[in-house]
């Protein structure tokens, strides 16, 4: 078990993975309760556009992913609040549109190679120390925002209109939430991959909901599930040479199934 920690890249991957597990599960609770699950998939694909731009232009792909994901989140939230456009269809269009743009950028720029592939499925081998610093810095800000506004976000998740009529700044907080989710997703695609991050964000919370406990306990259970999945997923991925993102997601799914059966009534 300890052998894997003798490798620098594994240490980096674990630090990044643990931060991501915390961020994805805490933000995931709000995302799921708001029925925003689909937005995480869409943002994960928008982040790829940033990665593509980064790879082609020689900029930091992670930073670019953060920027493009935030812009995309604002666009979605703007369409939703100003035009009441918030159907699955709009999200689906943005999702496939982003993917198409990302692929075109990369192939035009002649960078269609393993680099993009590693962002699609995640790769612990490729987490650099610079990545870890970026993930830690942005992650701290994102988590801070979620904690500061947790009361309000919870109220909005429960009933947006009642929250609004009792004086909660719903519009502002919605923008803030999608921005934070965008940041977290962009940070996560390095380790988990853009095709799989949605699962890490959503499934721990759905599993925790099966226990039918109060808010704080639900957040904590979902946090523990995400941490266990990332830890187990990375360990398995190291010893059996499996891709990290997919292994983590399989662990999450396993926990979900167990939660479902254990709470069957």
């Amino acid at each position: 078990m300890l052998e894997m920690f003798s490798y620098d890249f594994m240490q980096r991957a674990f630090v990044a993975g643990i931060i991501i597990a915390v961020l994805a599960s805490v933000s995931g609770t709000f995302v799921v309760l708001r029925r925003y699950s689909m937005i995480s998939e869409t943002l994960a694909h928008s982040a790829l556009v940033g990665v593509a731009v980064g790879l082609v232009a020689g900029l930091n792909p992670l930073w670019m992913a953060v920027v493009v994901a935030i812009l995309s989140a604002w666009l979605i939230e703007y369409l939703r609040s100003e035009f009441s456009l918030y159907s699955d269809a709009v999200l689906a269009i943005l999702l496939s549109g982003s993917l198409a743009i990302a692929v075109i950028i990369v192939s035009l720029g002649g960078a269609f190679n393993n680099s993009l592939f590693s962002y699609l499925f995640g790769s612990i081998l490729s987490v650099s120390s610079e990545d870890v610093i970026t993930i830690a810095a942005f992650g701290t800000v994102a988590l801070g925002i979620l904690l500061i506004f947790s009361k309000e976000l919870y109220f909005i998740a429960y009933d947006e209109e009642v929250a609004k009529t009792s004086g909660v700044k719903v519009k502002l907080l919605n923008f803030l939430l999608v921005s934070v989710v965008a940041i977290i997703i962009a940070l996560s695609i390095r380790v988990v991959g853009s095709l799989l991050i949605g699962a890490l964000m959503v499934i721990p919370t759905i599993s925790a909901l099966q226990f039918r406990v109060g808010f704080l306990k639900t957040v904590l259970i979902s946090l523990v599930f995400a941490l266990v999945s990332v830890f187990a997923g990375m360990t398995l991925s190291f010893y059996f040479s499996l891709p990290s993102g997919a292994t983590i997601v399989l662990c999450v799914l396993f926990i979900f199934i167990v939660s479902l059966i254990a709470n069957k009534r």
Binding site: L33, I148, F149, K151, E152, Y154, F155, Y158, D159, E161, V162, A163, K164, T165, S166, G167, V168, A208, L209, R212, V213, G214, F215, K217, T218
Partner: protein
């Protein structure tokens, strides 16, 4: 005098959707500590009216003043407790205990960083005690009966110490005994705590003695000011439906 400045002042309110009139020329005043019941047929515009009062829908024209302030300038939303129509149909898997829900009522009076204060806890306790849900504190909201949920929703609204309580048909799916108890609680809130109540309901007969005035909304509004005539007013509006408005206009002309 308390009764001179209306806490809700609505003038010539119109609401149209795609050129079709949903509400037209609604005007009324509501004064502090009044108990108002609103009735009217389904689709008559009761919910729409309330949503405009709360700033959730924008009127096509007309003016709304709350506590003497224009709606756009009104900031003290904690003074208004709102329980929407669908309130008791909470998603049963929503992770909230009764306490979690009632605490939401204090959210907007807390600074972002600060956690709930002793005062908040006291207000939450008071509201729960008043609505008789203190012993349900740790129960999950999804496991409660309709009547219990209804009381939790009101407790949440009361936790902000509102001066007005606006209830939109909160009694759908609640059994008779719970309803009676609920009406008694509302009456108590109005009489003992002086809370202004605006109550959309179908059960006008049961609360006829409690209310000060009755509004009938069916695209237009007729307002019965005399509590003793409440029932005949209701019969009237039921008989005349929309046309009852002309009765109202007629009355004004004299």
């Amino acid at each position: 005098m308390k009764f001179t400045v209306p806490i809700l002042d609505v003038k010539d309110l119109n609401f149209e959707v795609k050129g079709q009139s949903i509400l037209s020329n609604i005007s009324f005043e509501i004064f502090s500590s009044e108990y108002i019941a609103i009735i009217g047929p389904n689709g008559g515009g009761k919910t729409t009216l309330i949503r405009m009062l709360l700033g959730l829908d924008k009127p096509t024209s007309g003016e709304i003043k709350i506590f003497g302030k224009k709606l756009e300038d009104f900031k003290k939303w904690y003074k208004i407790g709102y329980v929407p129509q669908r309130a008791s149909h909470v998603d049963s898997s929503f992770p909230a205990t009764v306490l979690d829900i009632v605490k939401m009522g204090r959210t907007s009076q807390r600074g972002y960083l600060s956690s709930f204060s002793e005062e908040d806890k006291q207000f939450v306790q008071d509201a729960m005690l008043k609505m008789d849900v203190l012993d349900l504190s740790d129960k999950m909201i999804g496991t409660l009966s309709g009547g219990q949920r209804q009381r939790v929703m009101i407790a949440r609204a009361l936790a902000s110490k509102p001066e007005i309580l606006i209830l939109d048909e909160p009694n759908t799916g609640v059994d008779m005994v719970s309803q009676k108890r609920f009406y008694a609680l509302l009456k108590q809130l109005n009489r003992d705590d002086g809370i202004t109540i605006v109550f959309i309901t179908h059960d006008i007969g049961v609360i006829a003695d409690d209310i000060a005035r009755l509004f009938t909304i069916n695209q237009k509004a007729i307002i019965c000011n005399d509590p003793k005539q409440t029932l005949s007013c209701q019969e009237m509006s039921e008989l005349y439906g929309i046309d009852a408005h002309s009765l109202h206009v007629h009355k004004h002309e004299h």
